[in-house]
Structures are given as C-alpha cells and as structure tokens.
C-alpha cells in the first residue's frame, strides 16, 4: 500500500499542479470582487457573502481537485480501455438531453438526475479526447500523414457529437469539440492538399452561409464585432462595455474591489464569461499579463509532459486536453478584449461554475495520469 501511494505522489507533476492551483486561487479572489456588494458586505469578510458565490466556487474547486487526484490515480491503460464505452455512453446521454433535457435560456443542455444536474456536453469533450486518442493511436496514417479516406472515421468521432450539441443549441461547446478533434488530427498529420481543400471548402461554406443561410440578426452579431459602436445598446453593448472595463484598468488597474465598470454591473456576465474584465479593470495590464502568462505556462508544462511520454495515446490525450483548455481560454479572452464574437465559453479554472470547473480538473487529472512516468506504463 505505502509504496503505491509513494509512487503515485512521486509520479505527480508538482510543477504543473503549482500552476494549476495558482490560477483558481487568483480566480476566486477576482470572483469575490466581482460579486462584492459594498452596501451589504464588509470588505474581506468572506463569510458574510450573501450570494454565497465564492463559497460555492470554493466547493467546486475542491471537488474538482478531488476528481483530478482520483483520475490521476488510474493508469493510462484504464483510460484507453474505457474510452469507447465512455464515448458511447456520453453520446447516448447527449441524445437523451435532446429529448428529456431541461430547457434554460432557450436551449436544452441539462439532464436532471434527481438532485444532480448533468451537462453531458461538458463530459463529451473528455469523451471525444479519449475516443479520438484511442482511435488515432490504433490507426496511424499509412503514409506518414492522413489521407482523405482515412479521415472519415476520426471526423465522425468528433463530428457526430458536434452536430448533436449544435442541436441543443450550444454553438460554443460544439466549436470546442470541433477544435479538439481538429487539433488532435492535425497533431498526427494531414496530407497537404486535404488541408488546403478543406480550408477552401470551409471558406466557401462560410461565404455561402453568410449569403443564404444566416439570419440578419446573426450577421449583425458578427458585424458588431468589427463595429460595436454601430449598436451600442444592443448586440454591441457587451463588447463596448467589456472593452471599456479592460481599457480603463490601464497599466496598474483601479485596485482590488475598486472596478467601477464591473461593480456597477455594466458587465452582465461578470462572474462567469466576462470575469477576466474584473481582473483587467482592477489589476490593469500587469495583472492581466500575469494571468495570461500562467495559462501559457500551464499549456507549456502539459506539452512538455507530452514530449516526454513514450506512447502515442498518452501524447494525444495531452494534446486533446491542451486543445480543450486553449480553445476555451483563447475564445474567452478574445471575446473579452473584443476581437472575437461573443460566444458563451467560460475561462477555465477562473469563471464561476461547477461544470466547467469539474470538467477542467477531470481533464487535468487525465493529463497527470498519462504523463506520470510510472512503472506500470513503461513496462506494459
């Protein structure tokens, strides 16, 4: 017993964990500021929070860390074996959501299972990573890189859940799944002309969609990105207010708990999707770049682990997780600083929310598991 535990802890990448713990620590302090109401609360007195937001986020965080350590205890081969089952199971859940799911904010995303609300699309991100990692590692390209026909099955693996999630509808998550799949396939390699061809078809598809399929309100949402001032109170509102919040932080920020933009509720989703605004406003350029650097370090460290692993499945799982977290981070920050459209994706480890927190820690647990240089992997 003792040696196993010892080997488990010695195999954990503690540097990665240090980065991983730092981000939500900053995140919770920013969340406290974002939900802080000077009229009803005393500064720095956490327990009087009437919203309970911070306490709940702390709970999610610890639950996530627990999930991460448990996941990390499993050997990579367990993940390998379970991958398809997990994938099929989650896919079934996704279909079930379409039929039985709870509607909130106009879309069906949640499955109500007694006291627990399950969001299968979150789990699907992991399911796609594992299933695709298994398939790609079992079916390497015959000629060094994948040809068109070889891509059919991998594309189905992430394409089918994408379509189902799109039906909910949840564009952000569907795009995330697509990004994960694309990153993993590209990691292995794709024939050049296939790449060029798909890009061309993609551009043509977008052009066609713009001209014939998109509703005017959807077009407007994209157009306001380039010119938010054209509709300062409609779809451009969030973009403008978010930019003002970020910009008004200037170099050193307005100070902790002093951000007027977020304090006065100009930023609607300031505890979730737009939480970075609060950081940028109160801590300025210095704080923002510090947090961005932490995310970069996180990806750097995971990829460093990926370079060390000896098996392809592990590498692909690591790449998938990086793709998952990077896509969320980049789309979220891009939206906050106003160069990507407003797509509802949370900032991993930072935004308030249990689902995102648990999924992220689960994914990080997988990374810990596959990068752990334990005897059980090296001697198959």
């Amino acid at each position: 017993m003792i040696p196993e535990v010892k080997s488990y802890f010695s195999s954990i990448d503690w540097i990665l964990l240090l980065i991983v713990f730092t981000i939500p620590t900053i995140g919770i302090s920013v969340l406290y500021s974002a939900s802080y109401d000077p009229d009803t609360e005393h500064k720095f007195f956490l327990w009087t929070l009437n919203s309970g937001l911070v306490l709940r986020q702390l709970t999610y965080c610890f639950a996530g860390i627990f999930v991460m350590f448990v996941t990390a205890a499993f050997p990579a081969k367990a993940a390998f074996r379970l991958s398809y089952y997990l994938y099929v199971f989650v896919l079934l859940l996704l279909v079930a959501v379409l039929v039985y799911g709870t509607i909130s904010n106009g879309s069906r995303r949640w499955l109500s299972l007694g006291p627990v609300n399950l969001q299968p699309s979150e789990l699907m991100k992991i399911g796609v990573i594992l299933a695709l990692a298994r398939y790609l590692s079992k079916t390497p390209p015959k000629h060094g890189v994948y040809g068109l026909t070889e891509l059919f099955v991998p594309c189905c693996i992430f394409g089918i859940p994408m379509l189902v999630i799109m039906r909910q509808p949840d564009l952000g998550t569907a795009l995330a799944v697509g990004a994960i799949g694309a990153a993993m396939v590209l990691f292995v390699g794709v024939r050049k002309w296939v790449l060029i061809g798909t890009s061309a078809i993609g551009v043509a598809g977008v052009a066609a969609a713009w001209n014939w399929f998109l509703h005017s309100y959807q077009k407007r949402r994209v157009l306001t990105l380039f010119d938010p001032e054209s509709d300062p109170h409609g779809s451009g509102y969030q973009i403008i207010q978010s930019k003002i919040a970020v910009g008004s932080g200037e170099l050193f920020g307005k100070g902790y708990l002093e951000g007027s933009q977020t304090r006065l509720e100009f930023i609607p989703e300031r505890t979730t999707d737009f939480i970075f605004c609060v950081l940028a406003e109160e801590w300025g350029f210095i704080g923002s770049v510090l947090v961005i650097s932490l995310y970069f370090l996180l990806f750097f460290r995971i990829l460093q682990g990926v370079m060390r692993v000896k098996d392809y499945f592990s590498a692909l799982v690591g790449v998938g997780v990086v793709a998952l977290l990077f896509f969320h981070t980049f789309v979220n920050l891009g939206m906050v600083v106003g160069f990507l459209p407003v797509v509802g994706l949370p900032l991993p480890l930072f935004s308030y929310g249990g689902s995102s927190m648990l999924t992220t820690f689960f994914a990080l647990g997988l990374v810990l598991a596959v990068t752990a240089q334990r005897s059980v992997f090296s001697s198959r």
């Binding site: 081969k77 390998f80 298994r134 590692s137 079992k138 079916t139 390497p140 390209p141 990153a183 990691f187 292995v188 390699g189 109170h233 207010q241 930019k243 003002i244 919040a245 970020v246 910009g247 008004s248 932080g249 200037e250 170099l251 007027s260 933009q261 304090r263 006065l264 509720e265 100009f266 930023i267 609607p268 940028a280 300025g284 350029f285 923002s288 770049v289 961005i292 650097s293 995310y295 970069f296 990806f299 750097f300 990829l303 990926v306 370079m307 692993v309 000896k310 098996d311 392809y312 499945f313 590498a315 790449v319 990086v322 990077f326 980049f330 891009g334 600083v337 106003g338 160069f339 198959r380």
Partner: protein, 652 residues
C-alpha cells in the same frame, strides 16, 4: 496488446513544439491587444468608464399652480405613478411590450404607438402608462421579473380638483407632440413625454407655469439604478402661481346654471374688467388629458356637434338679438334722433320699400317710448330708430361699445364677431351686385340679427361700458403672478381702459332705466332675473332671442329652436357685476337665459355680502312669483310676457 498503442508513428516533440509555438503566438496577440487597450488607449477608456457611471438627468419641475381670486387652487399637482420602460434595460422590447399588454390588457398596438411617440436617447424613460391606477401598478410589480426593462416611477401630475370647473378657462395639458418637439422654441425646454399646455390658460401662460427643470447628476450602475448623488446638483424651480380673477363659488354656480345645456356664461366686474366667472357648456374634464387619452377619445372630443373643446364664451359667435337694442337706444339718444320721451307707433309691422318687418307682437305695441320699447322689446321702435341711424352709424356705435373686434381678453382663440357696414359689404361682396348696402337690410341689424354676430364676452364688455359710465375695459382673467412660494409678485395686472365710449351720461342712464324695467316692470321680459326681494338688490338687463333658422322652416326640433340670451347687471344703481348668459336653442332669453344669470348673481352676492341663498326652485318651469307680503308694488300674478320673437323678414 498495446502494440499499436505503443507505437510512435510520428515524432511527438516537433509536433508538440509546433503546437506550443501556435499557442505562444495566440497569447502574444492577446497580450498585444491588452497593451493596446490598457496602455495605449487606457486613458480614453478610463474617461469613458467615468461617463458610463455618471448620468445627468433632468428633474421635471412642478407645474405652477392656478388659483382663484381667493386662493382656492383650481389646478395643482398630485403625486402619480407612471409605468415606464428603459430601452437599454430591455433585452427584447417586443416581448416585454407583448407581456405588458397581456398583464394590463392594453392592446399591443396602443403600447407600441406610445413607445413610438417618444424618441430621444435610449436611457430616457419611455412612459407606457401615464398615471397608472393602483391595480395596474400592483400587476406590474407582481410580474416585474416577467417584464424586463419595465418599471414604475413616481411623477407629479397635473390635477384639477374640481374636474370640469372652469375647464375652458384653465384649459388642459397634454404630452408634447413629436412635431412640437422639433420646433426650435420647444426643443430647448422639453423632452419627449413632457406635458405641455395645449389649451386655455395652461397654453397661454405655459412659459410661466412650466417652471425650470433641474439637473440631477449621480452615479448609476448598468441598470441605471442610482447608487449615490454627485455633489453638484441643480434643483428644479417650480412654475409660477397664477392668481385668477375667477371666483370659485361664482364659477361653480355659473357652470351649474348651464348644466345639461349648450351655451356660455360670462360674469364680469364692470368697474375694472375682471372676469369673475366664465363658463362654456358642455364642458370637459381636463384631468383626462393628463392621463392616457386614446386617439379615438381625442377625436370624440374635438369633433362632433357638441364641440366640447370650444369655448363658447369667446370662440363662438351668436346674433345678439334684442340684447343689441340697448346699444341702438344709446346711439339714438346720443345722436339726438330720439329722446327718452319721444314715441313711435308700433302697428305690429314696419315697411321698408316692398319688405315688411314684423314685430314679435303681431297686433303691435301701440305708441311706445324708449323705456317701454326696451321693456317689451318692441321691434318696430328699433326698426325705425335703426333706419334713422343708418347702417354705418349703427356700426360706429357698436364698434365703440367693443363689438366686431376681440376684447383683448388674456385667453387665446378669441373671435372678433361682426357688425355689418357698407364698407364691410363692399369688401365682402366685392365685384357682385351685393356689394352695396340695401336700406332693407338695416332693420335686421337694428334688432341684432342679419349678419350681426357677437361673442358672449363682447356683450359683457359692452354692457359693462353701458353701466360704468362709458369705459371700455379690457377684460382679464389673470390678475397676478407670484413666484412658486408665493413670496414674490412677479407681475400684476392693473385694470386697463381701452377706450372711452363718448356717449353722454344722461343717455346711458336713460337706457339703464329701460333695462331696469325689463327685469322689474310687470311687462318686462326678464322678470325671472330678479333677485330675492328681501335682498333689496335691483337687477337690470336685456333679453335676446336669436333666430337660428328662418321661421318658415322652423320645426319643433331642438336645433331649430332660438338661442336664448340675457345680459344683466346688478345692483342697478351702482353695478358690481355684469352677467351674460347664452343658452343655445333655449327658445327664449327670458325663460332660459335670465334664470341662469340670476343664479350667478345670487352666488355672487351670497359670497360678497353674505346674503342667504334662496331655497332652490322646485321646478324650473314654475314662474317666479314675487314674494307675497312685503311689496305692494308687485302685482299678485306677474303676467308672463309672451317671449318676444324676433322680427320675421317677409317679402311681399
């Protein structure tokens, strides 16, 4: 088992390195963007963030109060609640409107219409329901989570405590129209949703009543919820207080006297031109204009035969009928064409050329002097006098009494009326055969018919001139303007004599003797105008009955009945009040108009001298009989004089 799993077909590190490079590039872009926003443009965004949370709104001033001569507030302000919408807080305007429509049971189109009428910046409240009632407020508050962007706000509203009392004098206010807002004179002072005087004194004195709006600067959150005030505030200054010459009690009696009728009453002080009461019936309740008035309701008000929004006392003209005779009498005396004792013979008709003009008494009054002619309202006497004066002298004297031109009352929409003359006819019918005056047209004018038209107010001014020794006063309604706290008198109106009549005092007194007999003589046509005997106040006056349609086509239909007029004054010796009443289709001046005048006078003397009001009559139709015992002079049964009918023009 894990052969494929273990096999490394492509080198991992270079690919991982490429991925890292891609990520680094993306993060570099993010950092560059942050540098641009926070370092390069940070100061500008910091300024915007300040503007974002500092809002300045106009504080509507309380509208000035309008009160009567004794300080009774006729128009004041009361707290009210509006149901309003903030566009920038409404994610889906259409949806919120639809929901509000179903909650309050107001058609969507109606709400959208109200929304459309109010333009301007988005952070300005759009008023959807003005002066909402308690039930509506409760419904909105109960459903507020279901109605994003819709709220309830306190807003003082104009309130006319006495409803339709003096409605045509006070006028009304309404939401400013989009068209008005675009006018340069309004642009600077008003914003959509503001109420503005649209009629009556509310319109005339808008500048004084509106007050000056204040500025409230404060910190808001994104929902425009005020967090705290900023130090620099400009408080609103309420509008000025108008003090009217109107007396609430007399006005109430005047309004009541016209209840159920169409017509007008003007009560005026002949000594200075103050208007004590001014009624027009049917009246409206000005309160309805400050709330929500649908387009259909509005159309119902402005169109239709009733012409509710028409101030019949100053906007409407009537042939003065026999009331006009007294002015002719004064002119005849002044010109020396008659003396108080000279007589004419009335055979019941008068011939001019081929035309025969009938007296209302078919078999004639016999020989009558001026006094008798006025008392019984003999038409023939005045046909003859009119002919001797000639149309242009009639015109001149009528004009001196103030007819044919606005009286200069401080209320808009005054109509000039018309006194015919040769010059008028020449101009009016220029180029036609009708362009000259025919002698046969004069008799009609002499008895206040034909083309002669006057407003009730003009008659009041003219009679005042008759009884005050010949001074033509400019009538007025507003006698002082005070600052809102009543401490400072901003303006004060002094009585203004516009002109002197230029008629000998004896002539005027001679006519007045006749006017007293009209009311007090047993043969008088206006015995119903007498005040209670025990008061000892004698009334003078003249009845008039003006023809609406030619007698040949007259039927018993109401709209064919004559208009009834009476112009009276009291006390006869030293007049304090002149009252003119016009009752449309009231059949005869003595029957319909004289009692109305009496009621107003009763209210006036009750108020000013504390005299006890007489018991209200049981029935309107019962003839008023003089008090039995004290006065032997009064005949036991006052012969009810057959109401004089105006002369019928019959061509032979």
């Amino acid at each position: 088992m894990y052969s494929a799993y273990d096999k490394i077909p492509v080198p991992i590190p270079p690919r991982a390195f490429s991925m890292l490079f891609f990520i680094a590039l993306a993060f570099f872009l993010l950092a560059a963007r942050l540098w641009y926003l926070q370092a390069l443009r940070g100061a500008s965004f910091a300024e915007q963030s300040k503007n974002n949370r500092q809002k300045t709104v106009f504080v509507p001033p309380a509208r000035g109060i309008i009160r009567d001569r004794n300080g009774v507030p006729l128009a004041k302000n009361r707290p009210a609640f509006n149901i309003q919408m903030f566009l920038h807080e409404t994610p889906d305007v259409e949806q919120s409107v639809e929901r509000l429509s179903s909650v309050l049971d107001i058609p969507v189109a109606e709400l959208n219409d109200r929304l459309k009428r109010q333009g301007g910046p988005r952070f300005r409240a759009r008023i959807l329901v003005r002066d909402a009632n308690r039930e509506q407020i409760e419904k909105v508050l109960a459903n507020r989570w279901f109605l994003p962007g819709i709220s309830v706000a306190n807003y003082p509203i104009r309130y006319y405590e006495f409803g339709s009392l003096a409605a045509h004098v006070l006028g009304h206010i309404r939401e400013i129209s989009k068209h008005d807002l675009e006018q340069p004179e309004f642009k600077a002072y008003y914003q959509p949703g503001d109420l503005i005087g649209k009629y009556g004194l509310e319109l005339q004195w808008e500048r004084y009543l509106q007050g000056r709006r204040g500025l409230n600067s404060f910190v808001v959150n994104a929902h425009s919820v005020k967090i705290r005030d900023l130090p620099d505030q400009v408080s609103a200054i309420p509008g000025n207080t108008l003090e009217l010459t109107i007396d609430h009690d007399v006005q109430a009696a005047s309004d009541a006297a016209l209840e159920g009728e169409w017509g007008a009453i003007v009560a005026m002080d002949p000594r200075d031109g103050e208007i004590i009461a001014l009624s027009s019936a049917p009246a409206f309740d000005p309160n309805v204009f400050t709330g929500e008035l649908s387009a259909a309701e509005w159309r119902g008000m402005v169109s239709g035969k009733e012409k509710v929004l028409n101030n019949r006392a100053v906007q409407e003209v009537y042939p003065p009928g026999s009331v006009f005779k007294m002015f002719l009498g004064a002119a005849g005396l002044e010109e020396g064409l008659i003396t108080p004792n000279s007589t004419e013979f009335c055979p019941g008709y008068h011939k001019v050329g081929n035309a025969t003009f009938r007296c209302h008494k078919r078999n004639g009054h016999g020989r009558v002097n001026l006094d008798q002619a006025l008392t019984v309202s003999c038409d023939v006497y005045f046909y003859i006098l009119g002919q001797r004066l000639g149309i242009d002298r009639i015109h001149e004297y009528a004009t001196r009494f103030g007819f044919g031109k606005p009286t200069g009352l401080d209320l808009i929409h005054e109509t000039p009326g018309l006194i015919p003359s040769t010059a008028w006819k020449k101009k009016r019918f220029a180029g036609t055969e009708q362009a000259r005056w025919f002698p046969g047209e004069t008799p009609s004018v002499a008895i206040g018919q034909g083309a002669t038209t006057t407003t009730p107010l003009q008659i009041a001014v003219a009679l005042s001139t008759m009884v005050n020794g010949g001074k033509v006063f400019r009538p007025y309604l507003v006698r002082a303007i005070y600052s809102h706290d009543g401490k400072k008198k901003i303006e004060e109106r002094k009585p203004e004599i516009r002109s002197e009549l230029g008629v000998k005092e004896e002539a005027l007194l001679a006519v007045r003797r006749g006017l007293e007999d009209v009311v007090n003589s047993p043969q008088g046509t206006a015995r119903r105008a007498r005040l209670p005997e025990e008061w000892g106040i004698r009334v003078g006056g003249k009845t008039g009955t003006s023809q609406v349609v030619a007698l040949s086509i007259q039927t018993s239909k109401r709209e064919h009945q004559h208009h009834a007029l009476f112009a009276g004054y009291a006390p006869a010796e030293n007049p304090e009040i002149v009252v003119v009443a016009v009752v449309e289709h009231g059949k005869s001046g003595g029957l319909a108009a004289a009692p109305a005048v009496r009621k107003v006078m009763e209210a006036y003397f009750h108020k000013t001298r504390g005299l006890p009001l007489p018991e209200p009559e049981g029935q309107k139709e019962v003839p008023r009989v003089a008090a039995p015992a004290p006065s032997p002079a009064s005949s036991p049964v006052a012969p009810l004089i057959q109401e004089p009918q105006i002369g019928e023009v019959a061509t032979q």
